[in-house]
C-alpha cells in the first residue's frame, strides 16, 4: 500500500513537472479591472493600455528567451470585494496567472492583495488604486502601484485651490475606501494650508436623487464643491442635483471624476470647473498617445498610461529576474522603475529587454513618468484640467 502511494505520488510529481514544462513558453498575466461597475467607462481604455504593452513585449520576442505573455481579463467590479476576490482567485487557480495587473479601485485592490495575492505569492501592480491606506498595508513586497497615493493628490488639490484663491470648500465623497481616503487626505492638506472645509459629507452610490445631500452641502456653504466620487455613479448625480438647485456652479473633480462621460452628460454646464488626475506631459506620454492612437484607442483617458506602465513593468521585471515566479521578480520592480540607467519610453520595450539581457541598468520612464517611492508607489505627476466650452482641456502638468 505504502509503495502504491509513493508510486502514485511520484507519478503525479512527474506529470506536474511535465505539465509545467509544456507551459513554460507562455506566461499569463491577469488584467483585473472593473469592466462593470462605477468605473466601467474608463476601464476599457485601461485594459487596452495594458494589452498594448503586452503586445509590444510579444512582438519583441517575449520575455526570458521566447516566453510569450498572454493577458487574461477578470472583472473586479470596482465595488464588490467578494466578486473581485473570486475573479482574481479564478485567474490564479484555474488560469494560472503569474502576475496581476490591477486592480483598479482601492477597496477591491486591498481585498485581492490580502485574499489572493499574498496567500498565493502572486505580485500585483495596480494602475489606479490610490487610497493612502494601501501605502501601509501588509504586502510581503508583492504590491506596487503606478498611481500615486491620494495623500499626494490631497496636496496637489490644495496647491491648485491656492493658486485659484479659493479658501472655503465643501467636500462630498463616495462612501468607500477611495472616497474617504481622498477626502481625509485633502482635508488634512487643505486645512494645514489655512483653507476651510465647511462640510465633508459622504454620499452613497446608486441613488436616484441627491438633492437631500446637496441641500446639506449648500447649507454648509463654500465657494466650490469638491466631488471625490465616481463619474458613472453618485459623483455625477451630486453634480446634477447641485447644478439643478443652483447650490454650486463650480466643482473640483479629482481623478475618479475626470472622463469623457462628464462632457457628454454636462457639457458647457461645467464650464469653469477644474480638477486633476495622474498624468504627465513627458515625452513618454506623447509616445504612448501615438501608440494608442495607432492601436485604436484614446491614450489620454485617465489611467490608461499607468496601465501600460504596470503591464510593462511586470514583463520587464520577469525578464530581469529570469523567472516568472513573483518571489523572484517582484524585488526587481523598484530597480527597473527608478534611476540610474538608460531611460525607457513607451515603444522602447524591445530595447529595454535587450539592455536587460546585456546586463545594463534601465530606468523605466514609460507613459506616466514612473518614479516609484517608499512602499512601491508612484511619486505622482498630475494633469490639471479645466472645463472650457464643454470640453476637458489641459491647464498644465504638475
Amino acid at each position: 500500500m505504502k509503495k502504491l502511494l509513493l508510486a502514485s505520488a511520484a507519478t503525479a510529481l512527474v506529470a506536474g513537472a511535465a505539465l509545467a514544462g509544456s507551459h513554460s513558453k507562455e506566461v499569463k498575466v491577469g488584467i483585473v479591472l472593473g469592466f462593470t461597475g462605477p468605473l466601467e467607462s474608463i476601464t476599457p481604455g485601461m485594459a487596452a493600455g495594458a494589452e498594448l504593452a503586452i503586445a509590444e513585449i510579444n512582438a519583441a520576442g517575449g520575455v526570458i528567451d521566447g516566453t510569450m505573455v498572454t493577458p487574461v481579463r477578470g472583472d473586479s467590479t470596482c465595488v464588490d470585494a467578494a466578486a473581485a476576490t473570486a475573479a482574481a482567485e479564478r485567474l490564479v487557480t484555474s488560469e494560472g496567472v503569474a502576475a496581476i495587473m490591477g486592480a483598479d479601485c482601492s477597496g477591491v485592490t486591498g481585498a485581492i492583495l490580502q485574499n489572493v495575492a499574498r496567500p498565493n505569492g502572486i505580485a500585483m501592480i495596480s494602475p489606479s488604486a490610490t487610497s493612502p491606506a494601501l501605502s501601509t498595508a501588509e504586502d510581503d513586497g508583492l504590491f506596487f502601484r503606478t498611481a500615486p497615493s491620494d495623500a499626494r493628490q490631497g496636496v496637489v488639490m490644495t496647491e491648485i485651490l491656492g493658486e485659484r484663491g479659493i479658501k472655503e470648500v465643501a467636500v462630498t465623497y463616495t462612501n468607500n475606501d477611495y472616497g474617504k481616503g481622498l477626502a481625509d487626505s485633502f482635508q488634512a492638506a487643505f486645512e494645514a494650508a489655512g483653507g476651510k472645509v465647511t462640510l465633508s459629507a459622504a454620499h452613497e452610490d446608486g441613488k436616484a436623487d441627491y438633492s437631500a445631500e446637496v441641500g446639506a452641502l449648500a447649507a454648509a456653504g463654500g465657494e466650490i464643491l469638491v466631488v471625490a466620487g465616481y463619474i458613472d455613479q453618485g459623483g455625477s448625480g451630486v453634480i446634477r442635483a447641485a447644478l439643478d438647485s443652483g447650490a454650486f456652479s463650480t466643482f473640483m473633480l479629482p481623478d475618479g471624476m475626470v472622463g469623457t462621460g462628464l462632457e457628454e452628460r454636462f457639457g458647457a454646464e461645467l464650464n469653469g470647473s477644474f480638477g486633476q488626475h495622474p498624468g504627465t506631459d513627458s515625452n513618454g506620454a506623447a509616445a504612448f498617445q501615438a501608440a494608442a492612437a495607432a492601436a485604436g484607442f484614446d491614450g489620454t483617458q485617465a489611467f490608461a498610461p499607468e496601465s501600460y506602465d504596470a503591464a510593462a513593468l511586470i514583463a520587464l521585471a520577469m525578464q530581469a529576474a529570469g523567472s516568472t515566479n513573483a518571489k523572484d521578480w517582484s524585488s526587481k520592480v523598484m530597480d527597473l522603475a527608478n534611476a540610474p540607467g538608460e531611460p525607457i519610453l513607451p515603444g522602447e520595450l524591445a530595447k529595454a529587454i535587450q539592455l536587460i539581457k546585456e546586463g545594463k541598468d534601465i530606468d523605466y520612464v514609460g507613459a506616466s513618468a514612473v518614479e516609484l517611492i517608499g512602499p512601491g508607489e508612484s511619486a505622482g505627476n498630475y494633469r490639471e484640467i479645466e472645463f472650457k466650452d464643454g470640453k476637458i482641456s489641459t491647464v498644465k502638468y504638475r
Partner: protein, 336 residues
Amino acid sequence: MDLLNAFVALANFVLIPGLAYGSQLALGALGVTLVYGILRFSNFAHGDTMAFGTMAVILITWWFQSIGIHLGPLPTALLALPFGIAITAAVMIFTDRTVYRFYRKKKSDPVILVMVSLGVMFIMNGVVRFIIGPDDQSFADGERFLISARTFKQMTGLQEALAIRTSTAITVVTAVLVVAVLFWFLNKTRTGKSMRAFSDNEDLALLSGINPERVVIVTWLIVAALTTIAGTLYGLDKSFKPFTYFQLLLPFFAAAIVGGLGNPVGAIAGGFVIAFSEVTVTYAWKKVATYTLPESMAPDGLLQLLSTDYKFAVSFGILLIVLLFKPTGLFQGKSV
C-alpha cells in the same frame, strides 16, 4: 430681505422637492391602498410593477425619439404614457388571471396572497432587469427648467436661488389631475361606487348583484395606470433604476398605512406626511437659521437632525409610531 432669502432657500431645498416627492409617493400609495381595500392584500409587487410600467414608457419614448416625435418643451415620455399604461395593464391582468385568481377562488388567507405577491415581485424584478438592465436610464427630454437657478437670481436679485424643473411642475400638475379623476370615478360613476361597495362589505356587494371579477379587473386597470404614472414621474424627476423603484416599496407602504390602509384620502395625506418628514428631518437648517435669527445667534453647526443616509429610517420610524399609537392610520382606514 433676509426673511425672503430664508424662504427661498427653504422652498428650493424643502418645499419644492417635498411637494414633488410627496406627489409621487401619494400616487404610489393610492395604488397600494386600492389593492388592499378591494383585493384585500398588501401588494409587495407594487414597486416592481412601477419599474415595469416605467420601463414600458421608456422603451416607447426611445422609439418616439428615434422616429423624431417630440412634445416641444414637454418630455416625450408624456406622449408615451398611455401606451405604457396599456402594456402594464395587460401584464397586470395577465398576472391576475394566471396567479392571483387561483388563490382568490380558493379564498386563501391574505398572508398567502402577500407571499404570492412577493413571488410576483421577484419575477417582475427579473423581467425588468432582463429587458432594460440594472443600470440608470435617462429618458427625459424637452426643457429642463421652468425657472433655472441663474435666471431666478437675475430676476429677483436675491442671494438664494430657486430652481423649478419642468419635471417637478409636471409631477405636481399630473398628480393633481390624476387624483381628481380618480375621486370623481370612485364617487360619481356606477363602477366606482360598486368598487367602494365591494371594498366596504364584500358579501353585501355580491348580494346586490355586483360582478366581483369586473371590480377586480377595473381595480387592476386603475392600479396599472397609477403605478405607471407614478413611476414615469419619478423617473423624469429623479432617475430610472430598477433597484431604487424596489426600494420605494417602504415609503409607499408607510404612506398608505400612515394615512389609513384602504382609504384613498389617507394615502394622499400619508404620501405628503412621509415625503415632508424625510426631507425636513434630513435637511440642514443652518442657512435658514442664519437668515432668520439675529446675527449673535447664528449657528455654527449644520442643524441637521439626521444625516441624509437615514432617509429610509424616517419613513420606517413614522410607520412604527403610527402602528403603535394609531393602527388605523390618520384617516380611519382598516387596521393592519
